[in-house]
């Protein structure tokens, strides 16, 4: 088996992501799919650092750094500006973390989606505020350790389901993807590029530093997340047409996904069981939506 991905690179090495950064890898793949004629909008998050300190810059297309809560509205504005100039062949992509998407940026994002502004919104989800020191976000899963949800009192709220929130906006395209499936990722970005309107892509992007995990497991942990149904790969068009892209023949127990990560090392058997139950529940729900039995 060989992954067929575009060979050309639209990023330079020398960026300052940690070793094994899922976010850095995801940008590399996204740009392979979108190409040079792209403008990237990055709010406060790890990626505002990864791209390099002034006057350096790792992405070949231009990056517009913006305030934490404004990833979507800045993209709307840039798109409008381009339209006025008659530059219609440029893809505008917001690239925000989970904090910048599920928490502080959700208002701007919801607004843009309601207007169906023509841009791709990407949430690279590392399940916490990594850039400021691993604080919990509403994307942090139930039971996880972060610096603000210590092991003694780990996070007691479940992860917010941002993809379903976006689907509920009835935008033309929403999809989940992750690193272990580069062909899936490339395909979804290409598809998003070809559609007019608001497109939302949710990337499960591991952070070895914040997850207390060996960096070489960057890809493996994504495979485990998908194979255990913790993070199913699916897409939805116009808020109605669901397609599940990968149905594990036999889902692996969530424990296998949790085990390599230090942020879950305090979990008790009962807690793991609870996670398994909620994963099963969500998976059944998704299958119902997609009409798969």
């Amino acid at each position: 088996m060989k992954f067929e991905i575009p060979q050309k690179e639209y990023m330079y090495p020398g960026h300052v992501a940690c070793p094994g950064c899922g976010g850095a890898y995801s940008m590399r793949m996204a740009l392979k799919a979108l190409g040079e004629r792209t403008i990237i909008v990055i709010p406060a998050c790890c990626w505002s650092i990864i791209d390099g300190p002034f006057p350096l810059h790792a992405c070949k297309p231009p990056v517009f750094h913006t305030a934490f809560e404004t990833a979507a509205i800045a993209a709307s504005g840039i798109k409008a500006g381009l339209d006025i100039q008659g530059k219609t062949d440029i893809t505008v992509m917001s690239w925000a973390g989970d904090g910048g998407t599920l928490d502080i940026g959700i208002q701007a994002l919801s607004g843009a989606a309601e207007r169906n502004d023509d841009f791709i919104y990407v949430c690279y989800d590392n399940e916490a505020y990594m850039n400021t020191g691993i604080q919990r976000s509403s994307a942090t899963p139930w039971g996880a350790w972060t610096t603000t949800t210590p092991a003694e009192t780990p996070k007691s709220e479940p992860k917010k389901n941002i993809t379903e929130i976006m689907i509920a906006h009835r935008i033309p395209y929403a999809a989940t993807t992750t690193l272990a499936y580069p062909d899936d990722m490339i395909r979804k970005f290409k598809k998003a590029k070809s559609i007019k309107g608001t497109k939302f892509i949710h990337i499960f992007a591991p952070c070895p530093t914040g997850w207390k995990m060996a960096p070489d497991l960057m890809v493996k942990i994504c495979r485990l997340a998908v194979d255990s149904n913790v993070f199913p790969l699916y897409e939805c068009e116009y808020g109605i047409h669901y397609t599940i892209n990968h149905i594990p023949k036999k889902p692996i127990p969530v424990e296998e996904y949790l085990k390599p990560q230090g942020r879950f090392s305090h979990l008790t058997k009962a807690m793991i069981e609870h996670i398994q139950k909620s994963v099963n529940f969500e998976w059944e729900l998704l299958k119902q939506r997609a009409g798969v039995s």
Binding site: M1, K2, F3, I5, Q7, E9, M11, Y12, P13, G14, H15, V16, A17, C18, P19, G20, C21, G22, A24, Y25, R28, D51, G52, F54, P55, L56, H57, A58, K60, L179, A180, P182, P208, A214, P215, D216, L217, M218, V219, K220, R223
Partner: protein, 564 residues
């Protein structure tokens, strides 16, 4: 309280508008950031040995030819095999394929049908490869005694390197056990003939009907040749060692097979007992069946200890031959000079013997008799040491030689069954090849190339997520009915489609096959890809190790950086 007097602040007068934009813009890239300095571990491309290559006594580059088959480069695949084993059409049919037992795929779904692919490539090469012509340009002559797989292999590699080679053979045709032992339904004679023909084209001279110790003598050969390779095998049938065994109706398995293999139809009874559990016993029984007689096999241990090739035992049973385990003969009962019954004893398994197999121990008072009119005795072969000169060191039952065929005398070499005792074809081939290297080294003082890299890729070293379940392609063959009363080949071989499909199952353990994973998954753009290889860009590689982990086949190693 003091108020700031705006009027007194000096005005900055700009001569022109600044040409920088109203906010900071990065105009240069990150290539100046040599993030390689962060690295603690360094990835390195480093091919390991696949377990199949390691398990093959001849160290065939199995993974290598599987890759070639995947690219439909059949001729190249053939050429790669014959670097290590000149006779893939033979081993592809009769080898006991220890490679398959060690195949990592075995722990996943089912091991690869390596010998089926080998057989295809061998037959393909026999048909299509351009014969290598005589190349003798070295003025050294080597005499080889015995034309079994050991002698033939040594002759092949010596002739290929340019030596003059003469092979002496006791029988009227070369081939050793391949001709006189292994029956045609497993190894058709025309395949054997074609394989041997390769040597003749290479310039090897065969002198058949020459017996060492009768027509030729070691002392003379030593004088007239620069080196001698003894590869006389093990051809003396071991006796039953029971009273009255010299009775009419008791035959030697080897002789029985030799007759059948020379096209004769030995006269034999109707109720046949075959004694033994090795290849000779199983082949004798299956040959008898093809003459229209249903024999019984008696073996003193259990299936697990049988030295015969396991698949052949299975085939014998498929053909309906009963095998009685834990039974040993104790006495021949005769009437009017001919055997009528065999008295046997029941056995049980005791402690392991020197071969590691559990020793059969008789159960007292368990004797019983089986009616029969013939017994084929196939309990093992021994080495005939009487043809040697006294100055050659022996172990008492075999010739003493090291792994490279070197005996105690500098220009005398020995290998194959006559050194190891009865083993397998591929062991003899390995011995022949190694001895050819040793003989060459004896003349040229060239260093003998060592064995493959000892670091072997095991199942646990693979990233199994990248492989999909795939059923082994079944080998087409004759059904049991079609095998009756003829010696037609039982297995018919893969076609191009099948061989391609089967080779495609190969994991390529330990060896990079350019799957691109390291390039694809690098988050730091530090894998440089060119047409024929990958390189790490150590200026930027941060040493995260993702490439090594995601390599499906363990072809990347992580090494600790040296502190500087």
């Amino acid at each position: 309280m003091k108020w700031l007097d705006f009027e007194t602040i000096p005005k900055v007068i700009l001569e022109r508008e600044p040409d920088y934009p109203p906010w900071a813009v990065s105009l240069t890239n990150t290539l100046v950031n040599r993030t390689g300095s962060w690295r603690i571990f360094r990835p390195k491309y480093f091919d390991k040995t696949p377990p199949c290559n390691d398990a093959c006594p001849a160290h065939e580059k199995i993974q290598g030819y599987m890759e070639l088959v995947k690219q439909k480069k059949f001729l190249e695949g053939y050429e790669l095999i014959i670097e290590d084993n000149p006779f893939p059409s033979i081993t592809g049919r009769v080898c006991f394929h220890p490679c398959e037992a060690s195949c990592n795929r075995g722990e996943y779904d089912e091991s690869l049908g390596i010998h089926n692919v080998e057989r295809f490539l061998g037959d393909y090469g026999l048909k299509r490869a351009k014969a290598k012509k005589s190349a003798a340009h070295i003025s050294k002559q080597i005499a080889i005694i015995g034309s079994g797989p050991a002698g033939l292999t040594c002759a092949y590699y010596l002739a290929k390197s340019g030596y003059k080679v003469i092979v002496y053979e006791h029988f009227s045709l070369p081939g050793g056990m391949l001709r006189v032992g292994i029956p045609a339904y497993r190894l058709p004679k025309d395949i054997l003939n074609k394989e041997i023909r390769k040597l003749e084209v290479l310039g090897v001279k065969f002198k058949t009907n020459f017996t060492l110790g009768k027509d030729i003598f070691l002392d003379d050969l030593k004088q007239t040749n620069d080196a001698v390779f003894i590869a006389t095998g093990a051809h003396k049938s071991r006796n039953l060692g029971v009273p009255e065994e010299k009775t009419r109706g008791v035959y030697s398995g080897l002789e029985f097979l030799a007759q059948i293999n020379s096209g004769k139809r030995p006269r034999i009874g109707k109720e046949i007992l075959v004694i033994g559990g090795g290849n000779t016993a199983v082949d004798a029984a299956r040959s008898a069946l093809r003459l229209g007689i249903l024999p019984k096999i008696l073996y003193r241990r259990t299936r697990h200890e049988m030295p015969a090739v396991a698949e052949e035992v299975q085939e014998a049973e498929n053909e309906g031959i009963p095998i009685h385990f834990l039974v040993a003969p104790v006495k021949v009962i005769k009437s009017k000079g001919r055997i009528t019954r065999l008295e046997c004893q029941k056995m049980k398994l005791g402690k392991p013997d020197e071969s590691g197999r559990r020793r059969p121990v008789p159960i007292k008072g368990s004797n019983f008799r089986i009616k029969c009119d013939s017994v084929i005795c196939a309990i093992g072969e021994q080495i005939d040491l009487s043809v040697l000169t006294d100055d050659i060191a022996t172990t008492g039952w075999s010739i003493s030689a090291d792994d490279w065929g070197r005996t105690n005398l500098p220009n005398i070499f020995a290998g194959g069954d006559c050194v190891t005792g009865p083993k397998m074809v591929v062991d003899a081939i390995a011995a022949g090849k190694r001895t050819a290297l040793a003989i060459d080294s004896y003349f040229t003082s060239r260093e003998i190339k060592e064995e493959p890299n000892p670091e072997i890729t095991l199942f646990s070293n693979l990233n199994i997520g990248y492989f999909e379940l795939a059923q082994k392609v079944t080998m087409p063959g004759l059904n049991v009915k079609e095998r009756k009363r003829n010696f037609r080949e039982v297995h018919l071989g893969y076609n191009e489609l099948m061989v391609y499909k089967e080779a495609d199952r190969c994991f390529s353990c330990g060896v990079c096959n350019k799957c691109d994973n390291c390039f694809v998954f690098c988050p730091d753009l530090a894998v440089m890809k060119s047409d024929d290889k990958y390189d790490f860009d150590y200026d930027y590689c941060k040493g995260c190790g993702v490439c090594a982990y995601e390599c499906p086949r363990n072809a990347i190693s992580m090494e600790e950086e040296e502190a500087r």
